[in-house]
Symmetry: C2
Subunit: 220 residues, 2 copies
């Protein structure tokens, strides 16, 4: 196959992913149709079969693709790695997280698609969690471990990571409610910056001052 | 109309609300059909028209009904009102919030219905926000104002209220992800108790230690 042909193939595949992202975000996995996706991508219906096997395969690829693209645009870790303070690493993690779900440098359908999949999961959620969400969780757990120091249980670290992520995700998942409760919110770049700074300060104040005797465990 | 007849009417209306809650939670507002709701409630299709005008009217009533029932079972404020400390009021607010969205004493469809409406809103969200969500927000803002004391901007109080609510809502909205990331979670009553205690401690540590010079404002 010539490289020109490869480029053509890559273009078709890419157009399918973009169109599918839009259509899945709009209608949800079940109601979305291959016909509409191929129409929007201007490709033959057989292309889905060729590149992605079926609708399930296409959907799974779209989720991973959206996540990968967002991470490329907004990396979760600052350059410099180990030389950066835990506080700064938390700040970058939170800011990049909010940028990935709310920021302008991502496809407009990304946040909605993810919100749908998280709240009403399909069979694709397992792969999304293992390949995209769990690696990020590992990064965040490392940052929190560095911030709170030794003597804090693994389960406590997990609860704290959920508190940090929950504060961020709420701005995406509950956006329709937040815009009604706080009409001054525009979700502009300046607003995202301000929210990131607040979530960072709130979380640092909590993590630096948690009662140390707390060693709670969950049911299991 | 005899009181017996009134009771009969109340029973029909109630059965419709319960059946509609289940069906709307399962299929979403758009895909749910009046036929299925009436079939499950074992009432004539004309009853929807009689009691709720149309599908929109029924849906709006179901949202308010679910919220009202949850608040009756799990009130947001402790008895005793002003005599209770701000810390204890925050603890009760968080515990009752988690119980309303996750606890056993609510219809199983309640959390899912609310999650759907929050993430993919319909025309009913305006009324839900004004009649159900905003009054709770006012309570929470009062508690936070009491905790942080004077000299903190109204906007800062709002950001803190979003941090508290976001931590709670995440346990409901991201449940499918959290169960995969933390398989030991059972969402049992003991787990909910443990989560409530964590969110309370995390939020109190943050609210008591926020940097005071922070007077951030939003875009508007």
């Amino acid at each position: 196959m010539s490289s020109e042909h490869n480029q053509f193939e890559e273009g078709t595949r890419q157009r399918l992913l973009e169109a599918a992202g839009e259509v899945f975000a709009e209608h949800g996995f079940r109601a979305a149709t291959i016909r509409e996706i191929c129409g929007r991508a201007e490709v033959n219906i057989a292309a889905v079969n060729y590149y992605f096997r079926d609708k399930e395969g296409l959907y799974e690829e779209v989720l991973q693709y959206a996540h990968r693209r967002a991470l490329e645009t907004y990396p979760a870790e600052p350059p410099g790695g180990e030389d950066v303070s835990h506080e700064e690493r938390l700040r970058v993690f939170i800011r990049s997280f909010l940028d990935r779900i709310l920021g302008p440098g991502r496809p407009a359908w990304h946040g909605k698609l993810m919100a749908r999949e998280i709240v009403e999961p399909t069979a694709a959620l397992d792969a999304l969690v293992e390949q995209s969400i769990r690696p990020l969780q590992t990064v965040l757990l490392g940052i929190i471990r560095g911030l709170v120091g030794p003597g804090v249980s693994e389960w406590m670290l997990r609860l704290c990571s959920i508190s940090v992520v929950g504060q961020c995700m709420h701005w995406c998942l509950a956006r329709p409610v937040l815009r009604r409760l706080h009409p001054q919110l525009e979700y502009s770049t300046k607003d995202i910056e301000m929210v990131a700074e607040h979530v960072t300060q709130f979380s640092l104040a909590a993590l630096h001052n948690l009662p140390r005797e707390e060693q709670r465990s969950c049911t299991a």
